[in-house]
Amino acid sequence: MKISAFALRNSREILRDKLNLAFGLGFPLIVLLLLSAIQANIPVELFAIDHITPGIAVFGLSFISLFSGMLIAKDRTSSFMLRLYISPMKSSDFILGYTLPLLPMAVMQTIICFIAAIALGLTISMNILLAIIVLIPSAVLFIAIGLLCGSIFNDRQVGGICGALLTNLSAWLSGTWFDLSLVGGTFKKIAELLPFSHAVDAGRAAMAGQFDMIIPHLIWVIGYAAVILVLAIYAFTVKAKSDNK
């Protein structure tokens, strides 16, 4: 009951912020439109709609980190949180209350991204459904990054880190905009050690029907998501204590 009440509050806080919606849904769709327009004029394999859509979906998920991070960081510095800390809520209630409303939002955002892609020429197939499912661990990953950042930093810092740094980092290192092999070297190695390119590649493998390629990439994403989620819970618990001193 506590978790569902708190989760409902969090979804209302996020959905009633129009800027959140504009960025979370609008920006990835604009990029999708833009790249499709480029593809129409100068065909590039990388920007083919079935290839680019998983990348744009992952890029869109980076905004989920911004939502969750901003909400927690703002809450932490408010008297409202003091009220909740005094209430019978436990740390696990807080974390689940923040995570649960974001997961359907992230999935919905991914679905909207694919619907837009279908409108732009993506062939309808069961692989789309598979790609959406495959992207769920990525959604958890970005939610966890937001929880971690929101637990450690203040809202201005979260704006910078999740809003600017993470969206760029996840975009450049995901192989969405350019083939990582074109840069190669250390850049490619770093990209392969991070989860973003694996998230996109898992989605691309699902779209291409290369089912055996999905799990190796997904392991990276699930591993990062699990570790960051545990770190976020720990950071939230520690910061909750220090914020009240």
Binding site: M1, A5, R12, S79, R83, I86, S87, P88, K241, N244
Partner: protein, 242 residues
Amino acid sequence: MTAIRTENLTKKFKGITAVNNLNMEIMENELFALLGVNGAGKTTTIKMLSCLIKPSEGDGYIFGKSITKDSYNIKPIINVSPQETAVAPNLTVMENLELIARIYGNDKNSSLVKTKNIIASFGLGEVQKQKAKILSGGYQRRLSIAMALISEPKLLFLDEPTLGLDVLARRELWKVIKKLKENMTIILTTHYLEEAVALSDRIGIMVKGELKIIGTSAEITRKANAANFEDAFIYISESEAV
């Protein structure tokens, strides 16, 4: 029945003693005002008693339950109205109240009933569907206190409840607080001395982390040999702070 009892309650932050050996007893349905200049240790005391931070030494008991060992059972019977207005800004008045009712274990129906009742008793009816962030300061403060009361606490901490309110809004809140003290124990912190005198049964004055005096406003004024309570407060605060 004793609502609060502290035994050598102490809190130290990196070697600095914020609250030192606090010993006091507050009875059920008493309105107790905790006064002191900034940095006297009032907020730290309240944070310990509301199980927000753990004491460095000593213990406190809320209706017989230890704040160090039994916070899980204390939390459902206490609530707080923080100094700053503590509301969820994008939620309406009704949604804010329902949220707190449900966090304290009420189901959807009983939360709704309690919300409607408290909206009526706090005069929030005309703004019940407005988002908290667009309410006036007076309404926000009323909502904040209503959110603390919807859980029907046995012990309520009111931290500077009338800070920043105009005189009319303040007097309105005084009426509300006077009504509340018939049914619950209230710990009030305020910088408005006339507020403490008008509302409280007893007053405690903290200076540099220590509770220097405790009694009714008349007793404190008499003990300090002062013409009025304000003079008594200044005398106690200054003489002990030097």
